[in-house]
Amino acid sequence: MKTDTLLFLSDSYLSVYCCAPSSMSLIDSYDLNDHVSMGRFEQWLKVNQPGTTVVLLDVSCEDYYEEPLPHVRGRDRGLLVSRKITKLFPSSNYAYAELSARLHTGRRDDIYYISGIADSVMIDPLIEILANSNIVVSGVYTLPQLAAELIKPIEHNTKLLLVTCEKEISSVSRYSFRQSFIVNEKLYFSRKTTVTSSPGSNMAEVLRKEIERTWQYLNNRRVLEKDSRMQVLLLLPESVSTCISVEHTASDCDYVYIDAAELSQSHGCSSNAAEPSSGEIIAFMLAKRGFRKSHYKPQRLAFTKKHQKVKQFLSIASVLVLTMALVFSGLNIMAGLDIKNANEQLSQQANLMSAKLQVERNNFNYNGPKPQKMQAMVALSEHVAAQSALPEPIYKLVSDSFSGFNELSLARMEWRSKTESENKISEAGRPGANQLANQAVGAMFVVSLFGELSTFTGDFRHAIDRIESLMSSLRDQEGVIKVEATRMPLDIDPSLNISRSLSDQSTPVFSIDVTLMQAIM
């Protein structure tokens, strides 16, 4: 997020900075107590309509608390912190809580550092102006909370006191000193005091006493280790540093002077000012870095921001909807045109086909029965006729088969056609029946042959051999699918009893069943 405009609000004045990627310049400063000056600021807002704006507060009315809270997670934590904030800062929109550490003993509570502005009467006019001007404020930050980040490039202890100084615009001889005590990169306490530099007062001594007071306060709260010396980082204008350096240091404190220009450069800022103040460096730091959680969330700005967001959303949605509509409509129209061209060609083909159909109709001048009916009736007649066991093929079969078997005489023959159901049963038991069924519809006949051995001499072996030869001859005939002897001159089945009298001179008889198939296509 690139911030365009940063509003730096101190106790008495408002400074407007314009931020660039590597630099920041002061545009103007406005006296908060001067209505004319604030009217000028309002006018500036209307004329310039700044884009994304950040508000940085450096006020003396900010309070700080250290609160142990039970270690809970999720929604409960939020509710717990919220309840504590409401208790400390009732009906205030300016409160911020940050988890510092967790106790290692006892209930192992979480330690929260809570800061807030109980009375925001000084800030409200500015917020009201911003809201009325429909300025979108991306965040409201407090300077002390960013102090730890300010001194990151500098080597320092885990517990230290940072002293910064801002020269007040309204008065040449007044300086605002802010003492921020930082523990483990988290703000524990901050205090702002105003010191007047005049010939009658010793500013260095006053500052030393202020630092000693702070040390005493921290020591009383047992924040500092016993018999340890407190590190004090002094980020002061050169004139103030010179003044203070002649004064001896506060007791139990070690002073470390920070060069503002070097610090500013280490943060990547090439400010136009020769000696940037701590506020300016923090302002640049805030502007340079991307999105960060806002410390304070005034309801009045949230209201404006919500409407601005709705407007932005609607604008983006409008563009998106219009773009999508144009794209999809274009695609539809292009597809429609393609289909239309194809339809014209299809219509031509349809006309040709229609003409062809008319020609075919004219050529096919037929007035007889329906062709499908003729086909069905012919098929029916073929099925019916196929069941006919005409005598000619039976005679031919018998004549061909009995040729050469003079000793076997045929006494009787009977043939009959098998019914459709008998055919199906027979074919189901026959190997390859399916293939044959696919090729043709078959009609089956059973021919029963009853004969006798007219010249029998008592040689059953020979008689049986001849009958089997006859059966083999029958099998070789075309259309024969099964030949089965139903009676032999002598039944030699091992499972049967045989009894015969040698005096029996009757003529041996035999019978054979022949199954024929006549294929019809």
Binding site: S318, L322, I333, I339, K356, L357, M374, M377, S388, S417
Partner: protein, 212 residues
């Protein structure tokens, strides 16, 4: 302070509404235009399919007519599509018996029965009828049976189907008083033949094939 003031975003909402309505109209119009073209394409293709099917049907009908018209005509001539004619059968049997000198020919014709649909592929709207004729006679020669059946087959009185025949050798000498000589009948036969005819069923829902 109100949570949300519509007046602050009224202009944006109006602009968005206009854009949305315009977009909907634009997209809807283009969509309907495309759908219209698709419908037209579908209609033309359907019409073409229908015409193609009609052309194919005509070609198929032509092929069927070429293939079956002759056979069908023979079936008509054969009387397969007409009522049975029992009198013709009896007359033919008597004529044949006289010609072949079969004085002991006996026959019996059963009542006509309708064949069930599942036995044969009977077309819709058609009934298949069967009348069974059983005859028994002595034969001088086995060829007489061929002639007897051939004489019955040429009758234009339906489709003749020989279902069963029993031909046995005998040594019977019969006195043929009409001819005044003794004939040596060497065979005896018993046959069951059936006459198949068809008839049309009147189906009110379907057009009758009166042209047939």
């Amino acid at each position: 302070m109100a949570y949300f003031q519509f007046s602050l975003v009224k202009q944006s909402v109006f602009l968005f509404s206009v854009v949305a309505v315009f977009s909907v109209i634009l997209f809807g119009s283009s969509f309907f235009y495309k759908q219209e073209q698709l419908d037209e394409e579908r209609a033309i293709k359907g019409k073409m399919r229908s015409m193609q099917a009609r052309i194919s049907n005509i070609a198929h009908d032509k092929e069927l007519v070429n293939t079956y018209q002759g056979v069908y005509k023979r079936l008509v001539d054969k009387g397969f599509l007409s009522n049975e004619s029992r009198l013709s059968w009896m007359e033919q049997l008597e004529r044949t018996a006289g010609r072949l000198a079969l004085p002991d020919l006996q026959y019996q014709v059963d009542s006509q029965s309708e064949i069930k649909q599942d036995q044969y592929p009977i077309p819709h709207g058609v009934s298949l009828f069967k009348s069974q004729l059983t005859f028994e006679t002595s034969l001088l020669h086995e060829g007489d049976l061929l002639e007897l059946i051939a004489d019955l087959q040429i009758l234009p009185s339906g489709l003749l189907v020989v279902q069963h025949c029993d031909l046995s050798r005998t040594n019977t000498t019969m006195d043929n008083s009409e001819k005044g000589n003794n004939l040596n009948f060497k065979f005896h036969t018993l046959c069951d033949v059936s006459w198949y005819t068809t008839g049309e069923i009147a189906v009110p829902d379907l057009p009758s094939n009166s042209e047939a």
